[in-house]
């Protein structure tokens, strides 16, 4: 939460990032300290409006005296901590995390930052060989915990599978899923409190799922799309965008983004309208918005058809 409290001033904590003294407020994380220092720190499962789950481990840093590397996104700065963000160990771990993800999931729609990190850390997913053939629809959802098909090792296992398209609002392309837990947090305690989706299965077969993999229309989903808003790889995508991408008409260079206020109710969430060729193609909400912190409800996110209907009737 970014609500502004009028509070007694926080105590300050002195830490050292790559040999440089940095002072941060008590309670700040090492990631905050790195960012204050302008140190580029990759993150995948971290988002300002969600509780840190520290599962992707791409943000790890070396803290003097610690046996293992620590996740910068969730570890609180403690007085006197000496942190290295660019040691050999840190670079290797970050490279490997990116390499593991790139070799097992489709990161092609992940942000430009992610693409840059993949390059700068030298992640090379081809080291694991050719990807194994995609899974059939439902196969990963049927996997039983503690068992898996024997592997010959000649191909690299992936999470690739057909897209789940079972409702009019959005599609779930779990071939792109890096299991960052963000959508689960957004659907649950951190925003929506609907709990339509959760982690199912375990190990490499762990996946985001409704109960028994029932379709979204049968699940508790209310189509708020907050899961879409937080997904770092576009595994979750509005149907409007999905169709245009399928048809080859999606073109971000021709899109403008207009920030406005949702017209539906008195909460007044901020909306970013993504417009291409004078048509709204997607609605998002700015993370830094004090109203909804990037989260919306079904009306704000998907209820924009009436705008274009009027445009065509005129």
């Amino acid at each position: 939460m970014t609500a502004v409290f009028i509070d007694t001033p926080k105590r300050l904590v002195d830490v050292e990032i790559d040999g440089v003294a940095v002072r941060v407020p008590e309670g700040a994380t090492l990631l905050d300290a790195c960012r204050a220092q302008g140190v580029d720190t990759p993150t995948l499962c971290y988002l300002e409006n969600l509780t840190p789950v520290n599962v992707c481990r791409v943000c790890v840093v070396e803290v003097e005296g610690s046996r293992t590397l620590v996740p910068a996104c969730s570890r609180k700065a403690e007085p006197g901590m000496k942190v290295r963000t660019d040691s050999e160990r840190v670079r290797t771990s970050r490279k490997m995390v990116l390499e593991f993800l790139a070799s097992s999931a489709d990161l092609s729609l992940a942000s430009a930052d992610v693409q840059r990190w993949i390059r700068s850390y030298g992640a090379d997913p081809s080291r694991y060989g050719d990807p194994a053939p995609d899974h059939e629809a439902g196969a990963r959802d049927a996997a039983r915990p503690g068992e898996h098909e024997a592997t010959s090792g000649s191909e690299a296992e992936t999470v690739k599978q057909p897209v789940k398209y079972d409702n009019d609002s959005y599609v779930r392309d779990y071939s792109r899923c890096i299991l960052c837990y963000k959508c689960v947090e957004a659907c649950g305690e951190d925003a929506q409190n609907t709990f339509a989706i959760a982690l199912a299965g375990r190990g490499f077969d762990a996946r985001i799922s409704t109960e028994f993999d029932v379709g979204l229309p049968d699940s508790a989903c209310v189509y708020c799309g907050n899961c879409i808003g937080v997904c770092p790889t576009d595994a979750l995508m509005p149907a409007s965008e999905y169709h245009m991408r399928q048809n080859g008409t999606w073109d971000e260079s021709r899109q403008t983004v207009t920030t406005t206020v949702c017209p539906y109710c008195g909460v007044g969430c901020n909306l970013d309208l993504h417009v291409q060729d004078n048509t709204i193609v997607k609605v998002t909400s700015p993370l830094e918005s004090d109203v909804g912190h990037g989260h919306l409800c079904v009306k704000g996110r998907f209820g924009f058809e009436f705008v274009q209907n009027r445009a065509t009737e005129e």
Binding site: N54, V55, C56, R57, V58, V60, T68, L69, P71, S74, R89, T92, S93, K95, M96, V97, F100, L101, S103, S104, R127, Y128, G129, A142, R144, P145, G146, E147, H148, E149, A150, T151, S152, G153, S154, A156, E157, I178, L179, N193, F195, A196, I197, A198, L199, A200, G201, R202, G203, F204, D205, A206, S209, T210, E211, F212, V214, D218, S219, A220
Partner: protein
């Protein structure tokens, strides 16, 4: 919370009965019962129902044992009763290997093909199983889909029919299993028999005939408690009809057993028998010493945890005892699932009252009124004996409101695991106790401050707790004088694999690896030793050159190995090491919780790599593979959340160092 339920077929009467058997009957329509007039005016459920979330796993066990799988209707009913969102409950059910979420034969036979059983013909047994139970399973109905064709790394698939809620397929299926904690008995199986009065049977040694017998006429599967070995100071375990020879006598100079003193001499079903040999005297002593006095003895004893991490027990207890937040909890970690480990099972099966007494003392010292024993689901005999011991202790005033008349109140509940090695990691265990997926928590904060239900919690291994009884018996300083300066006391070693007399052996710290193996009669049939897997799958290989290493924490650290859970898996020159390494990598892939990337994907890439090496078809050459492996080792060790990922590559990496990987030496 409004629950949206999705099952198209509601829970059957049988399923509701199973759930209600754990939770009691529902109060109203609000939690799944009949609608009453009052329902329109008063809301039940809410916080009261959600506070019972921790009962989700016991409820799932009840349904699984009754009908053989968790159907959508049964899950919905459990969710209604506990106000848990179905997606979350499905996430829990699909995490644990003993639960099935698709229609399944009522009988599932799990056959161990893990590291130790491998040395005792597990492959041959699996082949026989395919023949006997594979394509024409006995007692199966025609509708049974799938068959045991060995197509998946962990055995047969009984899938194939859709989860349409139409019910259960009766019949038998079998599958391969990771270590079942019976490694000293030659070969091991676990039978899940839903809908019977003995829904879980541990069978060892196992062969198709005995399995069939157990399925049809309820063969008494476990050997009866040991008769004491003839004056043996160091006693072998109950491998009566196992592959090994007779228990090795400990020789006249051998010290008296401490942890194993009562094994085989006390009736595990009789409190009187336990008390006749001094049982519950240590609790009296503890009450006389006071909580601070107990903490002092444990500190003076320099006791280090026996669960694998070797953490000072006193530090943990003092942190919990001194925490002003209430209540406090104490937990005994009896999830023992490290491949090759069976010590805690032996202790619990043969000396259950001792664990109950020790946990009571722990609760007293830590200021807790509630203790839990989290025991792996594959240990039905140990669980039953513990349950009996707890009930009897309660009846005799050793548990309850005024323990031993001593004015403190304490009780113990058993919670059963459901097939997940990771649930033995202490923060994952705590999540599992709370009714969640056994995903480890990030540390800090540690359980001593934020443990079970967010309260101060101490977690200890079974062997650690039994050591506390010995500490109180002889006094902390005296205990510290046993063993070495930095490794005090005695330790149990799980001798298994190609060893003459597999079993559980107790030694003072400082005995060398060679001595420990020699006490068990040395390598089976006098064959040459190839290597020892020390500490389990998360441990390390030691070559014949390392046999003179004293088994102490400090010597292990210096040698870059670990004592782990006390596994001494002996491998002779016939061992198929590359295949063994591949099996170890398969284990970690299967048991990773999947939470963090280094472990979730790293264990897959590691298994693929060792599958290539086992087939003798490296990508590029072996040197290229080992370079890739180096990177995998780095990221899993450095960046994983918990000990599983951090040690997933340890054993295979140590094998590489010892030159046990073919082709590696040349490169």
């Amino acid at each position: 919370m409004d629950l949206r339920l999705s099952a198209t077929v509601p829970a059957t009467a049988e399923e509701r009965e199973a759930v209600d058997g754990v939770l009691g009957p529902p109060e109203s329509r609000w939690d799944g019962g009949q609608r009453t007039a009052a329902d329109a005016h008063v809301a039940f459920g809410g916080h009261a129902a959600r506070s019972r979330r921790h009962l989700l796993i016991p409820v799932l066990h009840a349904v699984q044992e009754r009908v053989g799988w968790i159907s959508p209707g049964a899950l919905d009913y459990a969710c209604e009763r506990l106000t848990v969102p179905p997606a979350e409950a499905y996430g829990v059910a699909s995490f644990y290997a003993m639960f099935r979420t698709t229609p399944s034969p009522r009988t599932v036979v799990h056959v161990c093909d893990d590291v130790a059983c491998r040395a005792n013909g597990a492959e041959a047994l699996c082949e026989q199983m395919s023949k006997r139970f594979g394509d024409t399973p006995e007692g199966a109905e025609a509708a049974r889909p799938g068959s045991a064709n060995g197509s998946s790394a962990n055995g047969s698939s009984a899938n194939g029919s859709s989860a349409n809620g139409t019910g259960v397929i009766s019949g038998v299926t079998w599958q391969r299993s990771p270590c079942l904690g019976q490694c000293d008995r030659g070969s091991a199986a676990l039978l899940q028999r839903a809908g019977t009065d003995r829904p879980r049977i541990a069978l060892a040694p196992a062969d198709p005939d005995r399995i069939r017998q157990a399925l049809t006429d309820g063969l008494q599967p476990m050997p009866e408690p040991l008769v004491p070995g003839a004056g043996a100071a160091i006693r072998s375990d109950d491998n009566k009809d196992g592959a090994g020879g007779p228990p090795a006598p400990g020789g006249s100079a051998a010290p008296a057993p401490r942890l194993l003193a009562r094994i085989g001499t006390v009736d595990p079903a009789s409190l009187a028998s336990y008390r006749a040999v001094g049982g519950y005297e240590m609790l009296r002593r503890a009450l006389a010493l006071g909580p601070q006095g107990v903490l002092r003895e444990v500190r003076d004893a320099k006791l280090l945890g026996r669960g694998g991490a070797a953490f000072p027990t006193a530090v943990k207890w003092e942190a919990v005892a001194g925490n002003p937040v209430r209540p406090h909890y104490v937990v005994c970690n009896a999830d023992e699932s490290e491949p090759g480990t069976f010590k805690d099972r032996v202790l619990m099966e043969h000396d259950p009252y001792a664990l109950v007494e020790a946990l009571t003392i722990m609760g007293y010292a830590c200021g807790a009124e509630q203790g839990y024993i989290y025991i792996r689901g594959e240990y039905p005999v140990a669980e039953a004996r513990l349950a009996h011991a707890i009930a009897e202790a309660r009846a005799r005033g050793f548990l309850g409101d005024a323990v031993a008349g001593g004015g403190f109140s304490f009780d113990i509940e058993i919670r059963r695991g459901a097939g997940a090695y990771i649930a033995g990691e202490e923060t994952a265990l705590i999540n599992s106790l709370e009714g969640k997926r056994a995903e480890p928590r990030n540390k800090p904060p540690f359980p001593a401050t934020h443990g079970l239900f967010g309260k101060p919690t101490a977690v200890n291994n079974v062997e650690t707790l039994l050591s506390v009884l010995e500490i109180l018996r002889i006094g902390g300083p005296a205990y510290a004088r046993i063993g070495t300066e930095n490794s005090s006391g005695t330790r149990l070693w799980c001798l298994c694999g190609h060893v003459a007399a597999p079993g559980l052996y107790e030694h003072e710290f400082g005995a060398t690896l060679r001595e420990v193996i020699d006490t068990a009669g040395g390598v089976r049939d006098g064959r040459p030793l190839r290597a020892v897997l020390l500490g389990g799958a998360a441990g390390a290989f030691v070559g014949p050159d390392g046999l003179d290493m004293p088994l102490t924490f400090e010597a292990a650290r210096a040698a870059g190995v670990t004592l782990g859970s006390g596994v001494v898996l002996v491998l002779d020159d016939t061992a198929d090491v590359p295949e063994l390494l591949r099996r170890i990598t398969q284990f970690f892939r299967d048991e990773s919780c999947g939470q963090c990337v280094p472990c979730r994907v790293g264990t897959v890439r590691q298994e693929e790599l060792f599958a290539r090496l086992a087939r003798g078809e490296p990508r590029g050459d072996v040197a290229t593979e080992l370079k890739l492996f180096d990177d995998i080792v780095s990221v899993t060790r450095d960046a994983s959340i918990c000990g599983l990922g951090q040690t997933a590559a340890s054993a295979v990496a140590s094998a590489a160092k010892l030159g046990l990987i073919p082709g590696a030496a040349e490169s």
